[in-house]
Each structure stands twice: as C-alpha cells, then as structure tokens.
C-alpha cells in the first residue's frame, strides 16, 4: 500500500507495510494443517461430532432422557428406542447424548481452568527462578501432586458436595500442578533465549516480556498435554460418577450410566455397552486430535505440512 506524502513541495511515495497476519489466515492455515495429517483429520471429525452432539443434541433430540417407561425397561435396540432402554425404561440414546454434554462440559471446563491457573503460576515461578515466590509455588505444586488425582478429587467432592461445578473445580485442582510444572520448565529454557535477551536490551518491561515472548513459546507442550488430558478428564468424570461422587443422579452422565449398567449386567448388556463405547471413542478422538493440534500450532511445522 502506498500513500503519497508531500514533502518540500515534492510528492514522495512512501510504502506502508502490513505485518500483522490476519487471524483469518492463521486459522485457515491451522485448519488446513490439522486436516492434512491423517490422525488430525480423524480426530477433528470425531471431536467435532462430539461437540455438536454436546451442544445441539439436547435441543434437537426429541426424547427426554429422564422420561421413564417402566413397561419398556431393559429393551433392546429397536425402532422407537435406537439404543434400547435402561432399568427405568429411559431411552439410552437420549441419556448418551445428554451424557455427552456433561462429559464435554466437565472435561473442557476443568482442563481450561487448570491450564490457565497452572500456566500463570508456572510462568511466574519460572521467570522468577530462585526467588522465594518460586520455591513457594513449587511447594504448592508438589504438595498437590503428591496426592493421587482421583483420591484428591473424591475428597474435595465429598467436602463440597456433588454437583457439576464442584466436580469441575475438584478436577481442575488436581490437574493444575502438571500444567504448572510444564509451564515452569519451558519458561526456564525460553527465558534464556536470545530473543528474550533482545527484548530486555530493547527495554521491554518484564510483564510484557512474559506475555509477548515467553507465553506464546511455551504453549505448545501445554496444548498437547491439554488435548490428552481432555480424554483423561472424561475418564475421571465417568469414574467419579460411577462411584456416586460425581454428578448427581438422575442426571444422565456416562459414569452414572455405567454404574446402573454394571448392576444389571446380566439383564441388559446394552446399558453397559453404550456408555463404554462412548467413553472409548471420546478418548481416541481427543488423542488423535491433540496429535494433529501440535503440528498445527507450530508455525514451522505448519508451513511444512501445508
């Protein structure tokens, strides 16, 4: 783009550069990169399916998951109930769809919460390496990490009470040290880079250095971990609900469906099968997706695959 500037009576052409790559272009490239490799492609499709189910499913699907139909209980898959019914005659497909919403909410909610808290603490600790604050934060990480995740989550839910919010908070609390550790380790190496030194030489203030130079360069392992953890959190949610310390029944969650199905395993295998399939599928989906995501997020790798 050129603008004409008058200078001493002479018209001069001055060139203006645009150096911000529009967000649109970045997203386009990223999407193309994810879809380029096979695992990213499959993962994306599955994750997309699950998100659509979670968001739209309950609005679109006509059957109420809590509607009981005792006469038709333990039904096998049929025309009216595509996946069968459970011990109270509730439609399994409806419960699966609503369960998907719960699983996604708990997984994304807890992971993002723990990632944000973990990264903030980890980067602070890493950047202030050697200070008392650093030691304090590491201490907090180590204390929380020393508890087995599920046991800790159980304890918190037991204290706070069963609800989805509490479950999200509990799971987030057990996971934040891992993100913190990753963020801290990455920060320690990134802060020695020449480009951080260059920013210091230029006189950039510390906070800006952290946000502009450090955080963008430590995110890749965090995001990969995030993708895998999403899968893990679905398992935890299912597990805790299975133990009765997750979401409160009669809410349809995959864990509760497993709990019910396990009791009636001889009467109706369908009650157990569908939630198990759903959980497995979601784990595979997120694993594949996080692999593709890593490639898509690295500008170098992204260019290479596009």
């Amino acid at each position: 783009m050129t603008t004409t500037v008058a200078n001493n009576g002479q018209a001069q052409q001055k060139t203006r550069v645009s150096f911000k790559i529009p967000l649109r272009v970045t997203l386009e490239e990223a999407t193309r990169a994810i879809l380029r490799n096979r695992e990213g492609w499959i993962g994306s499709v599955l994750v997309a399916m699950m998100l659509v189910t979670a968001i739209l499913g309950p609005f679109v699907f006509p059957i109420d998951p809590n509607e009981q139909d005792i006469a038709n209980r333990f039904a096998s898959p049929s025309g009216s109930h595509l996946l069968g019914t459970d011990y109270l005659g509730r439609d399994l497909l409806a419960r699966l769809i609503y369960g998907c919403r719960i699983a996604m909410s708990v997984a994304f909610g807890s992971i993002f919460l723990s990632a944000i808290v973990g990264v903030i603490l980890g980067v602070t600790s890493g950047y202030m390496e050697g200070s008392k604050l650093d030691y304090a934060i590491i201490l907090v990480f180590d204390i929380v990490r020393s508890f087995p995740q599920v046991v800790l989550a159980l304890a918190i839910v037991a204290v706070l009470g069963c609800s989805m919010i509490n479950l999200i908070l509990a799971l987030a609390f057990t996971a934040f040290p891992f993100y913190g550790r990753i963020a801290r380790a990455q920060t320690l190496s990134v802060k020695e880079s020449d480009y951080v030194k260059a920013a210091e030489v230029l006189g950039l203030r510390r906070m800006k250095i952290v946000f502009r130079h450090i955080i963008p360069n430590i995110l890749t392992p965090v995001i990969v971990c995030l993708g895998l953890d999403l899968a893990t959190m679905i398992i935890y949610e299912a597990g805790l609900s299975f133990l009765g310390l997750g979401v409160r029944p009669p809410t349809a969650s995959w864990g509760i469906m497993l709990r019910n199905g396990y009791k009636y395993i001889e009467t109706s295998p369908w009650m157990l099968l569908w939630p198990a399939v759903a959980i497995s599928l979601s784990m595979i989906a997120f694993s594949l997706f996080s692999g593709g995501l890593r490639v898509a997020l690295d500008p170098k790798e992204r260019q290479r695959s596009v």
Partner: protein, 330 residues
C-alpha cells in the same frame, strides 16, 4: 578532537556456581568463573572497536555486562558521561535506546512466533517517544526494511521463512530502529556464507556512515576484524592482552598470544613468509585461570616471573598496549 563514546574501566564480572546446598555437600563447593577480569578500554565515537578472542575469553560476557544483562562485580562503564553500572531503571531505559545489540545467533534472537514486521516494530512500540500511531510505525518499518535491503513483503513472514543472511538483516533493522549511537555486533557473520557475509559487512559499513554509528565488533574471524575495525583489543581468559589501533597492532604484534593468533589465520595470499605458531595445549578454564600471566601455560617464552606476577599493560607508544613481562625491558 575525537570524542570518547564509551570508557570501560577495570570491569569485572564473575559468575558463581555451586552456591546451593547440594554443591556444598557433594560437590567442590563454590566455583568462581572469572569471565571478565579487569577490562579497560575506550571506544571513540564513529569508530569500530574490534574484540578478538577465543572461547572463554569473556567477550560475550563483556557485551552482556555493558547492557547490564548481567551485573558486574566492580568497574565502570561510562557512556556519554554517565556510569551505566550505577544507572537506575529509568536511565537504563534511556541508555537502551541509544545502545543496541546484534546477537550471534541470527535466528535465536528472533521470536519464532512473531512476524518480521512485528519484531522490527517492537522497539518503536516500546519507546513511543513521539506517540507514534500505527500508521507511522508501519511507515517506519517499511523504511527500515528498505535500509537493510529487504522487500516490504518480508514484514508478514515468520523468521523460519528467511535465510541466514536475511534473518541477520532483520536483527540489524531492529537494532537501528531507534537511531542508536552505539551498536555491539556479536559475531555478525557467523554461520553465513562468504558472499552473504560480504553483503552484511557492506551493509554495516553503509549504516555506520549514514547513521554515524559506533560499533563494538566481536568476532573470531581475524580477517574480518582487521577489515572492519579501527581499533582492536585481543582478549584471553577475561583479560585484554593487547590493544591499540588495528594498523599498529597488526604491524607490530607484541604479545606472544597475538602473534600466535594472527599467524594461524588461514590466508589465501600470504604477504609474508612467516610460519605458523601453533600453540600447544588447551585453553585453560576460566574457573581456575593460571596464576600470574594467564597465557603462560601455552607460551614458549614463559619464565618464572610469568608464573608469579601478573603482567600489567605496557605502553608501547601511540595507544598500543600489551601485557607481557618480556616487553618490559624494551
């Protein structure tokens, strides 16, 4: 009368290793790396001051200390009349507008997640002296890209899309963005091909003339330092062993280390038939430098005095100094 832009006086920067508990219990305890051990030099305005030295000589630490990226133990760095070592944060910020650095790793000094344009614009956005709007910054970035012979399209590209020479030029553009008076160039042509290096050398000379820059030029490529520098200092294990104008020093190499170093420069057309002085042994560690003269372990002229007493810089006339006991008698 030429003005002194920077005067460094008896600068010492040490690094302390092994302060932790484990080191004290299991290791050998506190280790002191004598990275810069009493360096004094004067850089005149508009000149290029070259520093030559091998691993462990302290040239990189010297750069970092000048910018206060590491804190010196003692000494002064007088820049335009003020001591950088004693500056507070506000004055330090001002200093960092007037003094800039070009880093050895041409890709490492560029944030891989920012575009070239953003990288070059950064100094302008930090020091919004004239409250520049986005338009002005954009124009200035275009100017800077042109000044280093890069296309305007380069602004939207990421560092990994550039070649070594181009990445180096982005670093140069960033360094001159705020019209500094002083630039430290740390191995500006390392990793570059012969013809790319020539381009960069020409560019740096042009910029020096046009923008009235003063350079501290650090390189292990002796031919290059000889070409670019007006004045020169040769460092060994944290100390300056010889210094003076380039012409003087190369004409009359006084210190045994300088003589050896210059004699092994691979030359295509040898001016004189002098044979190479190939030094024996390895460069000692800066943690345990040899007593007395640090070069004595590899010097064929070493005597008892060299082991006991550290040589001071001896004036050989017209600003040429060398630190060697053998010169005392002349």
């Amino acid at each position: 009368m030429e003005m002194d832009l920077i005067q460094i006086k008896s600068l010492k920067t040490y690094f302390f290793q092994g302060k932790g508990l484990l080191s004290k219990l299991f290791g050998q305890g506190l280790k002191i790396v004598h990275a810069v051990d009493g360096v004094s030099l004067t850089i005149k305005k508009g000149h290029t001051f070259g520093i030559v030295g091998e691993s462990g000589c302290g040239k990189s630490t010297l750069c970092n200390t000048i910018f206060r990226l590491v804190e010196p133990l003692e000494g002064k760095i007088i820049f335009q009349g003020r001591d950088v070592v004693k500056m507070d944060q506000k004055n330090l910020r001002e200093f960092r507008q007037k003094a800039q650095m070009i880093f050895q790793d041409q890709f490492g000094c560029l944030n891989p997640r920012r575009t070239a344009g953003q990288i070059i614009a950064e100094p302008l956005t930090i020091h919004q002296a004239d409250n520049r709007g986005k338009e002005d910054i954009s124009l200035k970035v275009a100017e800077l890209l042109e000044a280093v012979n890069l296309d305007a399209e380069a602004a939207a590209k990421f560092p990994h899309e550039f070649s070594g020479g181009q990445a180096r030029r982005i670093g140069v553009a960033r360094a001159i963005a705020l019209n500094p008076d002083f630039i430290i160039a740390d191995e500006p042509t390392s990793g570059l091909d012969i013809s790319t290096a020539a381009t960069i050398l020409n560019l740096m000379q042009d910029l020096q003339e046009r923008l009235d820059l003063t350079y501290l030029w650090i390189s292990h490529n002796l031919n290059q330092v000889k070409y670019m520098s007006d004045d020169i200092a040769i460092m060994y294990l944290g100390k300056i062993v010889e210094t003076g104008t380039t012409a003087d020093v190369f004409e009359n190499l006084a210190h045994p280390y300088s003589q050896a170093l210059i004699s092994v420069i691979p030359q295509i057309r040898k001016k004189d038939g002098k044979s190479k002085i190939i030094l024996e042994g390895e460069i000692p560690s800066p943690i345990t430098p040899p007593s007395g003269c640090r070069f004595r372990t590899r010097c064929k002229y070493a005597s008892k005095k060299c082991k006991e007493e550290e040589p001071a810089l001896i004036d050989l006339g017209s600003g040429h100094y060398a630190a060697c006991h053998l010169l005392g008698s002349n």
